[in-house]
Amino acid sequence: MTRKITITALFVALAMVLSYVEALIPFNFGIPGVKLGLANLVVVTALYVLDAKTAFAVSVIRIILISVTFGNIAALVYSLAGGILSYFVMLAISRIKGFSPVGVSVAGGVSHNLGQLIAAMLVIESLSLSYYLPVLMIAGVITGLLIGLVAKPVIAAMSEYMGREK
């Protein structure tokens, strides 16, 4: 139990570091409420290395902690919408045979942006944001692809390590 909590905490901490790095990169989609989602690397890895419940905890806890730490409470609702939607999409895809972590990560990246956009549309009660949809899908594919390619060796190394520990 303690070991599981420690590993979960480690994953959350890693996700927070990645979010911080992301905040340092002066990269802006120019689209309200949308970010790169580097921390998804940790969630993808958690899905493969840990169990589904722990991966969900990692995803939600890091989002709340980041919003509190970096004082962006206003963006919490968008981050949660993106994070939770992408978690369930990635969980579903990872359970289907024939997908590698890259496919899971791409689905996660796209649904992350989709979730944020839908939340933003609900908040401003306007469909005008839907014009950003195609660009956001392409951006999600690119970030998902990059994160997935990085996640693959990480998952392999982690699985080996976890196996040895047991």
Binding site: P32, A107, V141
Partner: protein, 121 residues
């Protein structure tokens, strides 16, 4: 990467490109009015032919909208991201500028209401 990964990526990209194509090929008609929405409610409607400044102050913050040369832009705002201020000015029907932190939308609409445009085209 596996075969299904490639299929997934191809499907998403195809959908996105279809969406882009759809948006690009829409008729670009000059708009007539700038409509400001706050919280999804219409706040005001302004003629694009009339140069003017609209200052909006709500408890969320401040926005200054400027109409000039038949186009509308966000001149100033005190929102944290300033995406609205960096947005290019808009003048075509259905274009919009969004200030998400202030829940404010500026949308250009066509001239259907006037009834005269239909004849002059």
């Amino acid at each position: 990467m596996k075969k299904k990964d490639f299929i997934l990526i191809a499907v998403i990209l195809a959908l996105a490109l279809a969406g882009l194509f759809f948006i690009r090929t829409r008729k670009h008609e000059e708009g007539r009015y700038a409509v400001v929405y706050i919280d999804g409610e219409e706040f005001g409607k302004y003629d694009l032919e009339v140069p003017q400044e609209i200052v909006i102050e709500t408890d969320r913050g401040y926005n200054k909208i400027v109409i000039e040369n038949g186009a509308v832009r966000m001149e100033e705002a005190d929102c944290p991201d300033l995406i609205c201020v960096h947005h290019k000015s808009i003048s075509y029907d259905k274009e919009s500028i969004i200030c998400l932190p202030h829940r404010l939308v500026v949308e250009v609409t066509g001239g259907e209401e006037s009834g005269i445009d239909a004849v002059t085209y």
